[in-house]
């Protein structure tokens, strides 16, 4: 029992929860924007991977991690536009085209890793994004150790969640996005360009997914590994659904999943049933999705391609 207390009382657990949640929060927030406009973006996993790769690529090329971050966002944006074009203009099945993007991204990044960096992997001296360490912040009880000495992207993520909520629920463009996802015909009749709004939604999800990828490759590390996103894009989709397609809800759900992962780490070395403990994050994911089942509040036109009447 005292062992459990030591685990839960350790601030490192809560700091890990936050840093493990970031690569889930960002795509979950992105997915919220995409699905609120009516496009199911399952391609976020692949876009994350593209972001992770190009972050390292541009960071090591220019020796500037900020250029790496920018490169990741641009590359992720391009991938998102290709996906959006197929999903919105060509009205492809969004799930199938999304999976195609994911498989493509996995192959492309593995191929580029070997062709560009050779078999030695990404350069050891690739610069990573800074961690912020303010002595004054560290002195605040509870919050200090939680927030201090995290990657700068952690703070940016927190800001983006608040900004995302404001944008989606308190601006005219946000209202239009929600309208397009609920009833595109009505929105079209009211003079809203449905296609353009949907492109915007997918593009935002692409940018945020690429940021999440960059966080993995140059935020907590300075290297790229084949398939290093390891399914986080899909878990983020679950977080978004559990969070009921809202920025704050997605954030909370992603934190819960991050907490389950963070908890499984110290528990593993003190509990005998290692394999059982490792299931924790996935069990939480499944339980969360079952819990929300039955009273789904998905946007009405989510996943339905829209064709303007001639």
């Amino acid at each position: 029992m005292s062992g459990l207390l030591a685990i839960f009382g350790n601030m490192q657990l809560w700091a890990s929860t936050l840093s493990l949640s970031v690569p889930l929060v960002l795509p979950a927030l992105g997915g919220t924007f995409s699905e609120r406009t009516g496009v199911v973006n399952i391609a976020m996993e692949g876009i994350m991977l593209i972001g992770a790769f190009f972050a390292v690529f541009f960071s090591s090329l220019t020796m500037n991690p900020w250029v790496g971050l920018l490169g990741a966002v641009v590359a992720g944006g391009i991938m998102a536009v290709i996906f959006a074009w197929a999903a919105i203009r060509l009205r492809s099945d969004q799930v199938i085209i999304g999976m195609a993007v994911n498989i493509f991204a996995s192959g492309l990044t593995a191929y580029l890793l070997n062709t560009i960096f050779g078999f030695g992997g990404t350069p050891v001296n690739t610069p990573m994004l800074p961690h912020l360490n303010w002595p004054w912040l560290g002195r605040i009880p509870v919050l200090g150790p939680l927030l201090n000495d995290q990657s700068i992207l952690v703070y940016i993520t927190l800001l983006l969640v608040v900004a995302g909520h404001f944008f989606l629920f308190h601006t005219r463009l946000g209202l239009r996005m929600r309208a397009v996802g609920e009833n595109p015909e009505a929105a079209d009749t009211a003079g809203i360009n449905v296609y353009r709004i949907r492109y915007l939604g997918v593009l935002i999800s692409g940018f945020l997914s690429a940021l999440a990828g960059a966080y993995l490759s140059i935020g907590v590390l300075n290297s790229f590994e084949v398939d290093m996103t390891n399914g986080r894009g899909y878990i983020a989709l679950a977080a978004m659904i559990f969070g009921r397609w809202t920025p704050f809800g997605s954030f909370g759900a992603a934190l819960l999943f991050g907490f389950a992962s963070a908890l499984s780490m110290p528990l593993q070395s003190s509990v005998a049933a290692k394999n059982l403990v490792q299931m924790l994050p996935y069990v939480v994911t499944i339980l969360a999705l079952i819990g929300v089942g039955g009273k789904s509040v998905a946007p009405a036109a989510d996943g339905v391609p829209y064709e303007a009447e001639k």
């Binding site: 840093s19 060509l90 492809s92 085209i97 890793l113 590994e225 290093m228 390891n230 509990v271």
Partner: protein, 363 residues
């Protein structure tokens, strides 16, 4: 029109992916054949090239053989995004393509190889870290437990000395494995036994990442161990282990690298690396094959005695380690070679769970 566009786009994406990652075989040194050059294929293990570890090192051996025996061998690497489930198809295709020697680095392909090998009697297969009893298959067994024993012994000595920078008063060390499997527990058992040999009361934290390609997870897991009082963490987790090394660097503690000399990845933060000379093995196999084609049905054992297993030269940490530790380490090595120190090989144990129970390794 739009439907055609969609179909074309999807087909293109799939085609590109197939060409790039899903199933890539690259000719690297197709020097013009004089006579009948030996056709060698290297089937990569999980993680593939770029893992800065096992696969990369084996590839170096292949490259060296291609260079040294230019004109007499042609070499190819075969990488599959999902080698574990595609093993049989991959091996079958190497037989069909008429390779003379196929070196399979993937431990889990043993069953597939046992099924495939009899169909291609002209091909000589070699597999690492597992035994396949077929007349045209050679099994290469690395004694990783021996090197891991040395790594554990060194870690136990170093963690007992808080005057070494980055070492705390807790006599606790850790190890992170990629999966809970005999192939990985072979390292972990050796490590714990080595640590206990030096200090029977030492605490060894054990975790599994369940993935070989997630360095972000590896970093968090190592941080959790450092928080629990460990100051040295051995990684046996492929690409995930890069995160372990990153965590050691960021927190001022130590990691122990695996398979190749990983000391340079974070100079000063990698105490040592447990090196498995997969390059020596690959090179030796090719050399053997050039002398005498065909063959198989044998087991090649490579360990401390053959110089195929050992610790790195500790280029960046040697000056921090007290001399008497290194002397003692050498004595332990001699003890293993002489047989006076026994290291368990859990893959050969009659009752692996007895060893696990003794060392406190859970299910």
């Amino acid at each position: 029109m739009k439907r055609i566009l969609t179909a074309t786009l999807t087909a293109t994406l799939v085609a590109v992916m197939l060409a790039m990652g899903g199933w890539s075989a690259g000719v690297m040194a197709a020097s013009s054949p004089a006579g009948a050059p030996l056709k060698v294929a290297l089937v990569l293990a999980q993680g593939g090239l770029g893992d800065l570890s096992y696969n990369d090192l084996a590839y170096k051996g292949l490259e060296k053989a291609a260079k040294d025996f230019a004109g007499r061998v042609t070499v190819r690497t075969i990488q599959s995004a999902d080698i574990v489930s595609q093993a049989e198809q991959v091996l079958r295709s190497t037989g069909q393509l008429g390779f003379d020697l196929v070196i399979d680095l993937e431990f889990s392909s043993a069953d597939a190889l046992a099924r495939v090998a009899p169909n291609y009697p002209k091909t000589h297969f070699a597999i690492f870290n597992t035994i396949v009893n077929k007349p045209n298959a050679t099994s290469v067994m690395f004694q990783e437990q021996e090197g891991s024993f040395l790594a554990g012994a060194l870690a136990a000595m170093v963690t007992s000395n808080p005057s070494i920078p980055g070492i705390n008063a807790d006599r606790t060390i850790g190890v992170i494995g990629g999966t809970k499997s005999l192939g990985i527990d072979k390292f972990i058992v050796g490590y714990i036994e080595g640590a206990r040999y030096v200090d029977p009361k030492i605490k060894v934290l054990v975790s599994y990442s369940n993935t070989f390609g997630d360095p972000g997870k590896g970093k968090q897991m190592a941080q959790a161990m450092f928080e629990q009082g460990a100051d040295i963490v051995y990684q046996v987790a492929g690409g995930t282990g890069q995160g372990v090394i990153e965590a050691a660097k960021a927190s001022g503690h130590y990691a122990i690298g695996v398979d190749t000399d990983q000391d340079y990845l974070a100079p000063g933060a990698v105490l040592t690396s447990m090196i498995k000379r997969a390059d020596v093995a690959v090179y030796t196999l090719i050399q053997r094959e050039l002398v005498r084609r065909g063959g198989g049905g044998d087991v090649v054992t490579l360990g401390l005695a053959q110089g195929a297993i050992g610790l790195s030269p500790m280029t960046y940490t040697r000056n921090r380690i007290p001399k008497e530790y290194l002397t003692k380490l050498e004595a332990i090595k001699q003890g293993i070679l002489a047989g006076s120190i026994k290291v368990d090989d859990i893959t050969k144990a009659k009752d692996p769970s007895a060893i696990e129970a003794r060392l406190g390794l859970g299910k």
